[in-house]
Symmetry: none
Subunit: 201 residues, 4 copies
DNA sequence: GATGAATGAGCGTTCATTCAT
DNA sequence: AATGAATGAACGCTCATTCAT
């Protein structure tokens, strides 16, 4: 019956929502299963019907939200590409980067949650999960194709760009160290343009 | 009497050694104080004579080992500089980077330990601790001066380089994803050269 | 289902019984939660399902047993009042006192437990708890009304009488110092009669 | 050598002073030997050269300070008796009581410290200790003799008076329950006069 | 499928006491 | 006599997990 399936999905979503809120609020280590189920209005045992343990729900959430950020960024980008706003791939990537940084800046606890947990491996696993979004790589890929430019080692290039953004923004956004975001941004954009050039065929 | 002081230092060293081994083997969260003192052949209470809690010994170890890596790299570099091996700062930085990566590759659990815990703030605090070494920034600084080249925003530049190295090497060293180390290295080196150029005055 | 509720009540009762025995035997400070649950044949965690900490069960027991003593004394008194045994309020109060002293004498560890912990504030809080008995003040009140005599500052009067009884009996019952109980009693009764007179309007 | 004896007495006094301050400030259970010796500027081991354990120093302090209160009260009284200020024993006892209550009121943490720990047995042991003061009983005794009145069962009488004062003042001073001190005092004085009359021969 | 009472190993931390110096 | 480093049992408390209902 579809209704049962629906109810199960609702339960799972409720658990995910509660866990995400608590994880970002107080950290994963300081959040207990008890608190999650309490917040989700469920019995403790129910949690274990949907997730093997606390770490499964943790990984799920990282992948989910990391993907969400790219999705949102791409959504905005897509409109602009269609409207031929950008002269080059470089400009589009910079725009994408800016969009991602803006999202992270607007939600620091989300950035904290994702950043230190986001490993390259997670992206490739996102598809396995039950939300059928495009992932980060596809987004870049389609972007690069849209401008029909040829880059070698596309995956490595994207990897280096993503890691550079993530790594440099972390301290800057959370602690304003060693510089403020508005000081980092222009240099980061130049560095990304250079990385793109570096991988041109 | 000096003998007591000596014994105390030995105890502290034993605790640091045991903690480091266990932290790198099983992670900080999965290592208990009980295990540390057991490994160090001490009573539980003794731990608290030397460290306020698990996190104090953790921070101590991060700063200590991060510093050690730079020190070792710089030691080698120093000899080469004296012998005028390098034509430019760029070459020297690349050499330094290579040396650091080699160390990380040779000790993956150390890399794992440092990488996810190393925040920019830690560097500035290293001096405070009781080993009076030069730190990362000083090393770069003296390097740059040695070649009397002028760069703007040196701190930001170093920050971006260090974060790029750290971030890109993590997955590559630990999971060989998305490429192997020997595939990453040349591109990383080019990227670093570009970053240096970007900050030339 | 009622069965679960019943089992929970049984568990709580078992904890209370074990705690009371250990508290009176060895004192509150020398009794650990571990010992209580061991005596009650339960896991340590179970204790914390029923009481916030050691002090909650402690307060519960003080109030409970203090109330119990008054209740028992009043029960007997009630019958006698109905049978018009007493000529005056004074006689009834003396009877009540005697009855309370007898109970304390029969259970010295109970007396020790209650005496040093019983503060005036506890009485007013007894009602809050889940046994809905009359408390000390109500008992005296109804007694005084039964004989329709008017006293001023009833609460202060009762306070002074109760404290006098409690304070003088403590050393006498536990250490027979400075006199034996049978030497104290007549003088205590006279003193109480004088206190009652003192507060007549 | 006398100097060594003197130094030892100084150390003991320092420990007593530190312990008393900490006991009254934070309670006996929340004060550790570590804190006492730290406050007294001594090594931990030194404590055990002077006291068997924490409880020995505790008992010592109770007896000492309880005695001190009576002493102070008597000192004042003595002058007044010599000057024939009082017409009767009753008046003198009331004065003594007032003086004791004033001291307790002026130092609530002292009152808290003494009150619940003061047992009749402590008084008789005071003499054993190394401060050779008169104790409570002697004070009353000499008072009664000064007025050459005859009371029966003097010890019991004093016991009841002292316990009544102590017991009724405790809650009133600490929590103002069930009445304020100025409401208790007149009634307490009347009750004491009645007790004295009760024991007249 | 859902519950939540029960578990108990494990946590970090304290501290009275000992004893080599 | 004085020290203070070392001890380790014991503490209160947490919480992931189980399982009878």
């Amino acid at each position: 019956m579809g209704k049962i399936e629906e109810k199960k999905k609702e339960k799972k979503q409720a658990l995910l929502a509660s866990a995400f809120q608590l994880f970002t609020e107080k950290g994963v280590d300081n959040t207990s299963v008890s608190e999650i189920v309490k917040d989700a209005n469920m019995a403790k045992g129910t949690f274990y019907l949907y997730f093997k343990d606390k770490y499964e729900i943790h990984n799920y959430l990282i992948a989910y939200h990391a993907n969400l950020i790219f999705e949102k960024a791409y959504e905005i980008l897509d409109h602009q590409v269609l409207e031929k706003v950008f002269d080059s791939v470089e400009d589009a990537v910079i725009f994408l980067t800016g969009s991602i940084i803006d999202q992270l800046e607007a939600n620091l606890s989300l950035m904290k949650f994702i950043s230190k947990n986001l490993s390259w491996g997670v992206f490739s696993k996102i598809r396995i999960m039950d939300y059928d979004n495009q992932n980060c790589m596809d987004i870049f890929d389609s972007l690069l194709q849209a401008f029909s430019k040829k880059y070698r080692q596309k995956e490595l290039m994207i990897y280096m760009i993503v890691e550079l953004i993530n790594a440099t923004c972390y301290n800057v956004l959370l602690y304003r160290e060693p510089v403020r975001l508005d000081e980092l941004k222009p240099e980061l954009f130049v560095a990304i343009r250079n990385l793109l050039k570096q991988f041109e065929e």
